[in-house]
Amino acid sequence: MTDNKQPAGSSFWNDTGKTGITSWIFSTDHKRIGLLYFYSTFGFFLVGVLLGLLLRIELMAPGRTIMGAQTYNALFTVHGVVMIFLFIIPGFQGSFGNLVMPIQIGARDVSFPRLNLFSWWLYMGGAAIILTSLFTGGGPPDTGWTFYVPFSARTGTNVSLAVLGVFVVGFSSILTGLNFVTTIHRLRAEGMTWGRLPLFVWSLYATAWVQILATPILAITLVLVMAERLLGTGLFDPSKGGDPLMYQHLFWIYSHPAVYIMILPAMGVISDVIPVFSRKPIFGYKFIAFSSLAIAAFGSLVWGHHMFVSGMSDTAILVFSFLTFIVAIPSAIKVFNWVSTLYKGSISLEAPMLFALSFILLFSIGGLSGLILGAAATDVHVHDTHFVVGHFHYVIFGGSGFAFFAAMHYWLPKFYGRRYAEKPALIAWALMFTGFNIMYFTMQVLGMKGMPRRYYDYLPEFANLNLLATVGSWILAAGMVIMLVNLFRGLWWGVPFEGNPWGGATLEWSIPTPPPTENFVEEPTVTHGPYDFKGTGKP
């Protein structure tokens, strides 16, 4: 993993004198664990991308293109499970949360460093179980990532093992969450008051609470699905008196808040990047901070909007539809504050900023299309169509994914001490942004026209738009290849990255690059806010 390519000088890469593979996979240093998480989650992201591209190729033309129905079912299930449970949920907290958060609050490490390492091992264990489920037993699960009963209780594919893997990954997520809440409460440096926390830390704090309070519900639900399959408990089986809708309730009690596990840290990244590249303090710090908590809170009340056409009671539809609109308020507060930060700022369009700006646009499109789904009446029309697929990819890929890329371009040079070339990064961004919109906007149009999701085949009238979406996926993939080659070539062999070239005011920019093992030579005393750019070296 590591070698002599790192810049001379002492940093967490070499200052303990240990650089072998075991010094990484058994390290309790939050930065090493952060990079472990980064490479493992990002590796799974690439697997998910590959599966997604295959799905798009299958949908390129009507009828069987490269795979049959069963293969397609398995592929979209695995694509969903990998992307959600192995990439985007553990990704932000695990990689950038671990890398940056302790430094941003002025701590030497998280509260429970060994538990942190254990979380990563649990994550890897869960991932291994999920991967095993693909190649053993009755073959890869074909239920969709939601594991809906009664199908998931009856299908002969290897659902039990996949569910067990997700359970283990969920446990890892819980442990990371409680570690982060404790860390943020206990280990802030002197002067790092709650009002001086970087907004990324605020967003991680809100996320960690969702992980703590919602994930156990998923855990028990998955245990019950396993019991359903192995013991025949019948709790979700109508023929034994159970109610399949209770599965959907329990599943979405977790999985809707889980959407905020995915998007909140992304919003935090954006809130950190935009002021730095606008050379202006963030507009409405308190509103952004508290809207993170508000999103976490209200987001836990709206799970029923996934069930409008399931046969749930009309009263519940009314209540959940109403509550869903409330979540739009804190989200909109954030968007307006970011845009206000840009106003009259001295904007420099470097790679992290471009990804951050595109986040605002893509997240807004995704969020607004979410309102169409959140209103019960319009949802009936577009439910289970490609409109939904387009919607959540706008939010999770266009939102969280692009924020992840922004974070990669913003923070990884800090930890490698080398940087990528700017121009290829811009080209990559342009390609990805174009391809993304061609692909997913087309999907939303297709959904409006009535193309259902989760079928390998479709009516001939959808052919042209599907071809367009598939071409979009190739443009997106091409951009991603350029981005990855440029980024990693830069991180390993690029020009040195030193000091504070972008003039960030959060604490990570005040320590050496790459940081030493315990981050701070002496415990810092914080005397200014996270977006107070006076004296950061840039006008």
């Binding site: 836990s300 009671s313 519940a316």
Partner: protein
Amino acid sequence: MNEQHHIVSYRILVGIWLALLALTALTVGITRLELGGYKVLAALTIACVKAWLVISIFMHMKYEGRLLRWLLFLTLVTLAIFIGLTFFDVLYR
């Protein structure tokens, strides 16, 4: 790092234990009577009192700072909301 730890005396702990046993006897007694729906209410009320005794004395919550108490409250409210909102479906279906 010189936090003051409250030490709960043996006498208080044993007293709480006796109270818990008495409440257990009470709840068994009450639910043997034919009270219909009220016995559900009575049994759950007694269970909540017992839980409160365990949390505040055995688990030292009475001697903790405000933070833990608020967080516990937050957790219980969350659970109540999860159950409550589900009943918008269950009651009106």
